[in-house]
């Protein structure tokens, strides 16, 4: 059983909010002593997850989503929660030349782990990275 400490939480209501979330990820990785390499990976994963949630929201009439940062002794976990719809971490055959469709692939490959959890109210994309120094 891993216990997490909720470090930060914010509601993203604009594309500027995505930038704020990326900045907050960087601050948290710095606060918990993560390496620069891991920090930039998590920053990019944050951007991609938030962009995905934001674009999903635009298509489905949602005007905001929530992002949380959780810290345990072993890892920093980021949770992006959107109402309705679903993240798709394994969309099938990937086409390198395609215009779109790289965001969730990047999240999956850049982080130590990722998963989608769904319930009746929506779905959450969780991704995490080890290397936290408490």
């Amino acid at each position: 059983m891993v216990s997490f400490l909720l470090t930060d939480c914010m509601q993203v209501q604009s594309t500027a909010g995505i930038w704020e979330a990326m900045t907050l990820t960087s601050r948290i990785t710095e606060r918990f002593g993560m390496t620069a390499g891991k920090a930039i990976r998590l920053r990019l994963a944050t951007e991609e997850a938030c962009t995905n949630a934001w674009e999903h929201g635009l298509r489905s009439g949602q005007t905001c989503f929530v992002i949380r940062w959780l810290v345990s002794e072993s890892r920093l976990e980021v949770v992006v929660r959107q109402q309705g719809g679903a993240f798709e971490l394994d969309p099938g055959a990937f086409v390198p030349e395609a215009s779109r469709g790289r965001g969730l692939l990047l999240i999956r490959e850049l982080t130590d782990g990722s998963e989608v959890r769904t319930d009746e109210e929506g779905c959450s994309l969780h991704f995490w990275m080890s290397g936290v120094v408490i």
């Binding site: 930039i40 390198p96 395609a98 215009s99 965001g103 990047l106 490959e109």
Partner: protein
């Protein structure tokens, strides 16, 4: 992002057939930028233009590796390597490319 897209498309609008997109000093690219690059390479091919990428920092190269850019784009660590490739022959200088 629109500035980057515009800059790359202006590059394609020249009458040059061999083009280098120099990413020196770029340490971060998101999926939107990757889409712009992929679209530009494919668009160039329609007009017999070859767009290669140079000045790729290790962090950016890792992202390129994940999205398999090396399968359809020539990627070089150094700008001079890209220029050599375009100038001296497209079958040479493969050794200097990132894998």
């Amino acid at each position: 992002m629109e500035d980057f897209r515009g800059a790359v498309w202006r590059l394609l609008e020249t009458d040059q057939k061999r083009l280098v997109l120099d990413l020196s000093g770029t340490f971060y690219v998101n999926s939107a930028a990757l889409g712009v690059i992929a679209d530009s390479v494919l668009q160039g091919r329609k007009f017999d233009q070859e767009l290669v990428i140079a000045g790729v920092e290790p962090t950016v190269n890792e992202i390129f590796r994940i999205v398999q850019f090396g399968t359809f784009i020539k990627i070089f660590r150094e700008t001079k390597e890209a220029l050599h490739y375009l100038k001296e022959g497209r079958n040479e200088a493969q050794w200097s490319r990132f894998s």
